[in-house]
Amino acid sequence: MYVAVKGGEAAIDAAHALNASDRRGDPATPELTVDQIERQLGLAVDRVMAEGALYDRRLAALAIKQAAGDLVEAIFLIRAYRTTLPRFGASEPVSTAAMQIARRISAIFKDVPGGQFLGPTFDYTHRLLDFSLEGEGAAPEAPGATTTVGPLIPVTTLLQQDGLIEGERPDDATPVGDITRTPPTYPAERDVRLQALARGDEGFLLGLAYSTQRGYGRNHPFAGEIRHGSVEVEIAPPELGFAITIGEVELTECQMVNQFKGSAEQPPQFTRGYGLAFGRGERKAMAMALVERALRARELDEAVTAPAQDEEFVLSHADNVEASGFVQHLKLPHYVDFQAELDVVRRLRDEIEAKKAAE
């Protein structure tokens, strides 16, 4: 008699114990502390916070440790934790114009009021492995006064003052959508699209953004401004009647200036693509801005011809927690379905054999 493969509870527990010991590795090597991850793997923490949709550096660092550096797994841990948190309310819109700026660059004007600040960046580094980092050394010194500046007027506001770029259209009358509380429906409005993109997978958005640059939904982008720094978060409790600051978050914002457009009533002006990410998620913010602009095709009466312009395609596949789960569910047993397929294929083959034999 056969022995069936039993996925007993003991086997699962043992697998998890094995995974935990693999994560820890050789006990002779000192254990990573959550502090070290939080402070020395800050960009990983940023990504986990952005796509995990929860601003908490400490929890993100813990998730990275628990996930043994698998960031998509860490993002999943954060999402599953986030969903259990009580929701007290929504903050006031944060003002990125009032940002305390650590980095601010514009690719469309050589000089902008307030100046350009390179700030911390990998840009212009030569990607040569620095073997001195193999050993432990003295902490690198920060150059001179690296304090933040601000507030600085957004470059797009300067363009808007001359009517050269479409105006932002704040609409306080319509409540902002919430993709965590309302199931997605299409067509999706811009608020909902922006939310989905903000938590969307960086790799997926990067690829889509790249595709627009290579002609699949081209929208002539210029990096109007990229700024990184911290902004205050305010809430207005109804019993107080005014807003109070509850903390600060670090953000990276990208305002793309895109393809101009005019009509019988409106002289030509540039259009906008917007990207925003927690921390120093600059690649993510830029990719998001390109895709965001591409997704405005319907709104701007452009032909929807490329994947990046197709909101149902982009929004339903951008979430890596969903994608990772569904792709990997193929690991689960499918013997019942496969047996059903075998049944069909065998019958088809039998019928063909029978036909051949009859001929």
Binding site: G7, G8, A80, T83, E322, V336, L342
Partner: protein
């Protein structure tokens, strides 16, 4: 029971939201009700829809059975059962007649369900028209208009090309004469069990954020043609363990020469028959 989490993991607000969707689904049999699916601590595609439905309707007195591919001891069934034992502290069972609530992936138990039982299906793709039309905007319109010609055409083309319908599992059904419904990837053998079942049948798709239902005693018809009636899987063999000739069989390759052995996919049915305590359909 786990500390720091609500009974059955979800907070009461979320449960209420899901129960509202379930009630609507029961009121409109076969219609896919959008719901604000929550992130669960298990991955999407691994039963989060079913888990959310179960979590929303489970009570302290419920007795839960969880199966995957018909078996109580497959890894994911073990994991989900453990999740509810941990977060809800409810009694669990492998015996189909003893369960008040059954969560399942890809099978309906061979033992006939009875009135008062609830079966919760885990659904990967709730939209039966998805392979014909990838857009939700388009498929919702097709459902609204009852425009299912595309599906009939697909079945017809199968017959024209292969001489038979080639959909092996997740075979499309028409519920209450109105909505086309995916029965989830159950084999065709299980489709007739959906029809006029005395149990309440709930379907949860977590990633796709849809819930639908077949209330007790509702007609569920597998699509077919008069001259090509719906057929189910058949085996030349009986179960090698319990000798059942009426159950869905798993095929096992037992040696390098490719020798096959067939046993019941429903482990409880097989064990019950072996113990000789009945369990006939």
């Amino acid at each position: 029971m786990s500390k720091g989490y609500n009974f059955a993991y979800l907070d009461e607000q979320s449960k209420r939201m899901i129960r509202r969707a379930v009630l609507k689904a029961v009121a409109v049999p076969g219609y896919q009700v959008p719901f604000a699916g929550r992130e669960m601590p298990l991955p999407y595609g691994w039963g989060t829809g079913g888990i959310q439905v179960t979590a929303s309707i489970i009570g302290r007195d419920d007795v839960l059975k969880v199966i995957d591919q018909g078996a109580d001891d497959t890894t994911n069934a073990v994991s989900i059962r453990k999740f509810f034992a941990r977060t809800a502290g409810v009694r669990t069972t492998t015996r189909t007649p003893e369960a008040s609530l059954i969560q399942t992936r890809h099978r309906i138990p061979e033992t006939q369900l009875k009135a008062g039982q609830i079966i919760v299906f885990q659904v990967p793709i709730p939209e039966p028209l998805r392979w014909l039309e990838p857009r939700e905007t388009a498929t919702r319109r097709m459902h609204a208009l009852g425009d299912y010609g595309a599906m009939h055409l697909k079945l017809y083309e199968d017959i024209a090309r292969y001489g038979r319908v080639t959909t092996a599992y997740d075979f499309p059904t028409l519920v209450n004469g109105r909505y086309l419904m995916s029965p989830s990837p159950i084999p065709r053998l299980d489709n007739p069990k959906l029809d006029r079942s005395p149990a309440l049948q709930l379907f949860g798709a977590g990633r796709e954020k849809r819930i639908y239902a077949v209330p007790p005693h509702t007609t569920v018809k597998s699509l077919d043609f008069e001259d090509h009636p719906f057929t189910t899987e058949r085996w030349a063999q009986h179960c090698a363990r319990c000798g059942a000739g009426d159950s869905y069989l798993d095929e096992l390759v037992i040696d390098d020469r490719g020798t096959r052995r067939f046993v019941c996919s429903d482990t409880d049915y097989c064990d019950t028959r072996l113990a000789g305590t009945g369990g006939a359909r």
